[in-house]
């Protein structure tokens, strides 16, 4: 009797026991900080008079003031537009290259495939800040070997740290660093396609190009969706590259990207309340955009499956 009772109790409690550590960790390191950020974003500091001495400063309820301030701040909108412009270059270029490289590596005629794969992937292993520093040096005309060569050849020397050149410069860092990772994701799913499919296609007289366009790409579509999804999030949250290039040029302001504005509010101006509101807005926008995309992609898949 006793053993039976203990056993049934154990079975009942087991899921909770297993869930317990994860729940605690989730609550402590995920839910709690987010909740605190939301709480902060609804408050502000209220100073009396000169604001010197003790008791002159108190934390008060602000309602949605921080949110309206952030949303009406032209810099947040300008930053978002800058980031969208940057994303419009990065995402198609990076995913396009990743897809082309993956298809090339997957073709039968390729030599030195393992080495090439590693060589393309390697930049991803370099931390973003280091990559940005490295490229930053190469973009500065006075210290860059590229500019030295351009000058010797009498070619025009574009200013990569200003205007449109800056977008190219920033995108280049992201593409250089991100292509390898995305290529591996696509390549892995290419390898998972059964060989019989190719054999059947070849028997039907399909050329390698036709196989790539009509079989391989449609079959790796889920991977493309996944990489696109990650890339969008990456774009919206771009931070370390422009932050690292900022000291090198007057063209990158402290609010160049939305996340940089959050950082400036918190660490430059000491206003954690506005920073929290900005962070919540970015998080919500990212969620809406990325899940919106996922839904759109899923429904399209379903439609195709139904056809």
């Amino acid at each position: 009797m006793t053993t039976a009772r203990r056993k049934s109790y154990g079975v009942k409690g087991a899921p909770y026991a297993f869930l317990f550590p994860a729940t605690i960790l989730f609550a402590l390191f995920f839910a709690l900080p987010i909740g605190y950020a939301v709480w902060l974003s609804l408050h502000k500091v209220q100073v009396k008079g000169l604001g010197l001495g003790s008791g002159a400063r108190s934390e008060v309820w602000a309602g949605f003031e921080n949110y309206t301030d952030a949303l009406t701040d032209s810099e947040l909108l300008a930053g978002t537009l800058r980031v969208l412009g940057y994303g419009a270059i990065v995402v198609p270029l990076m995913l396009g290259l990743a897809l082309v490289f993956a298809l090339m590596l997957d073709s039968d005629k390729v030599r030195l495939a393992p080495f090439t794969r590693l060589a393309i992937f390697l930049p991803y292993a370099i931390p973003g800040v280091v990559a940005a520093l490295l490229w930053g040096f190469l973009y500065l005309p006075d210290v860059s070997p590229f500019y030295f060569v351009l000058e010797k050849l009498g070619l025009p020397q574009p200013d990569l740290l200003d205007g449109g050149g800056l977008y190219a410069a920033l995108s280049n860092i992201a593409v250089w660093g991100g292509t390898g990772f995305n290529m591996i994701v696509i390549y892995t799913s290419l390898r998972a396609i059964p060989v019989e499919v190719y054999e059947a296609a070849k028997l039907d007289g399909a050329t390698p190009l036709q196989i790539a366009l009509k079989i391989k790409i449609p079959m790796v579509a889920p991977s493309l969706v996944l990489t696109f999804f990650f890339s969008i999030i990456a774009t919206l949250q771009v931070f370390s590259e422009p932050t690292t290039l900022k000291p090198l040029t007057n063209s990158v302001s402290t609010t160049w990207s939305p996340l940089m504005k959050v950082y400036r509010d918190a660490f430059g101006e000491g206003d954690i309340y506005s920073a929290a509101a900005g962070a919540v807005i970015i998080a919500v926008a990212t969620l809406i955009l990325s899940f919106g995309f996922l839904r759109a992609a899923n429904s399209r898949n379903k439609q195709e499956a139904a056809r």
């Binding site: 010197l52 002159a56 890339s231 990456a234 007057n250 063209s251 996340l259 660490f267 430059g268």
Partner: protein, 440 residues
């Protein structure tokens, strides 16, 4: 994918900073009765000065041992990052006992009730410092919020050999400075006298201070913000004009390109402060022994003032359980001859205490200026002419606005006056938002 990890890393850092602040403070928290004037006490000290641990060892083995006050150094990042960290720690009630704070950060710290008034314990130290320096730690009141540690009187650095080569004379006024810049452009269009850099607000603040600007003043219970005042406008228009006509460069300082320009003689002068030898040693190593220092150019030939760029103080926090002991240490650190010599030697600082400026530690010029035997005599003469400064409770906001507004203006070679107005407006708007009373 990269940015997911990066974003996480950013969040993790933010959390780690907060947690770190708490644990650090917890480690060093004092465990003694609160209002003890001295007696057994363990203090933590947040500072970014290199070699501070060695200076503190002097205390721990000397006067600290006698009074049973032990100080532990926790090395920190400098500047605004530390201000944020101090405020975060204070919010949690877990601040350290002592902090290093730049002068312009003191009003922010006082306004947040993070640093304590130590007038009673350390008010006697006043006589050791120049009035203009001491006044920055009192915020014009009877309170004393910190003990001055180092100062950064601004000076004019130039390449002696290249000035000779191009037939230039050291400018005594800003008009002459502009003429020198233009003459150099005529001699060699590829060479600049210097650059207007928008990435260090302290430089502009110091130049404005020299011109007589008072950015923050109080009128009764109201703040008055004078960033857009006549003196600062004069400075902004002057540099804006030089940038617009191309007489000086407009690229930021502290970049690899800037280092190279200094090192190869493409920029031949630098408006800087007493700490410049250290920066030049790393930025332009090949030019050792070729630089000289002179007083900053003046706005009129009859004047003799300079601004300050940099400099910091030692403050006692309101969270400290041993404010008396902490104040004692702060006073010793910044007025005791042995401590000041060690600070100069280990930390490479230029002391705020006037007697220390002519002590043995400063008998020899810095190695980089071995050609100018009177480097430190000149420096101490210049230091005496430092104009008073007026800092307010949101210097950080003014400084970040400066970087963006003047960075864009320098880049576009547009009107610096507009950038100055943006700086004024944003600073006032932030103060009003926080609830400060601001006089129009």
């Amino acid at each position: 994918m990269p940015s997911i990890t990066r974003h996480r890393r950013f969040m993790a850092t933010a959390v780690a900073v907060t947690l770190g602040a708490t644990t650090l403070a917890a480690c060093g928290g004092s465990d003694d009765d609160s209002e003890a004037q001295s007696g057994p006490a363990k203090l933590t000290y947040w500072t970014w000065t290199p070699g501070m641990d060695k200076v503190v060892d002097l205390w721990n083995e000397g006067p600290g041992k006698e009074q049973q006050i032990t100080v532990t150094v926790k090395k920190q990042a400098s500047g605004d990052t530390l201000v944020t960290k101090i405020l975060t720690a204070h919010k949690a009630g877990k601040g350290p006992d002592l902090v290093q704070a730049e002068y312009q950060a003191l009003p922010t710290l006082v306004s947040n009730d993070a640093v304590a008034d130590i007038a009673e314990e350390a008010g006697d130290a006043k006589s050791k410092f120049a009035d203009g320096v001491w006044q920055q730690t009192t915020l014009g009141s009877d309170a004393v919020y910190a003990i001055p540690q180092d100062i950064g009187p601004m000076m004019f650095y130039y390449r002696e050999d290249l000035f000779e080569k191009y037939g230039l004379t050291v400018p005594k006024t800003w008009d002459e400075f502009a003429e020198t810049a233009r003459k150099l452009k005529k001699e060699d269009p590829d060479v600049d006298l210097t650059t207007f850099s928008a990435n260090d607000s302290g430089l502009f603040a110091g130049l404005a201070q020299q011109a007589g600007a008072q950015w923050w003043t109080t009128e009764g219970q109201k703040w008055k913000v004078g960033i857009d005042d006549a003196a600062t406008r004069k400075v902004a228009d002057f540099w804006g004009g030089l940038v617009k006509e191309g007489a000086v460069d407009n690229q930021p300082m502290y970049t690899p390109a800037w280092n190279k320009a200094l090192n190869t003689g493409k920029q031949i002068a630098w408006v800087s402060a007493v700490w410049a030898p250290g920066t030049l040693t790393t930025a332009a190593p090949d030019t050792k022994g070729k630089w000289k220092v002179a007083p900053l150019p003046q706005w009129s030939s009859s004047e003799n003032t300079t601004g300050s760029w940099g400099g910091s103080s030692t403050a006692v926090t309101t969270d400290s359980d041993n404010k008396g002991a902490a104040a004692k240490f702060a006073a010793w650190l910044n007025t005791d001859p042995d401590a000041l010599t060690a600070l100069a030697k280990e930390g490479g600082i230029y002391p705020a205490a006037t007697t220390a400026q002519t002590s043995d530690a400063f008998a020899e010029p810095p190695a980089f200026f071995s050609n100018q035997a009177d480097f430190y005599t000149t420096a101490s003469e210049i230091a005496k002419t430092t104009a008073p400064s007026a800092w307010g409770p949101n210097v950080n906001v003014a400084y970040t606005t400066f970087k963006d507004a003047f960075g864009a203006a320098a880049k576009n070679k547009s009107d610096f006056g507009d950038a100055l107005k943006t700086m004024q407006d944003d600073t006032v708007a932030d103060m009003k938002k926080q609830g400060f009373e601001v006089a129009e």
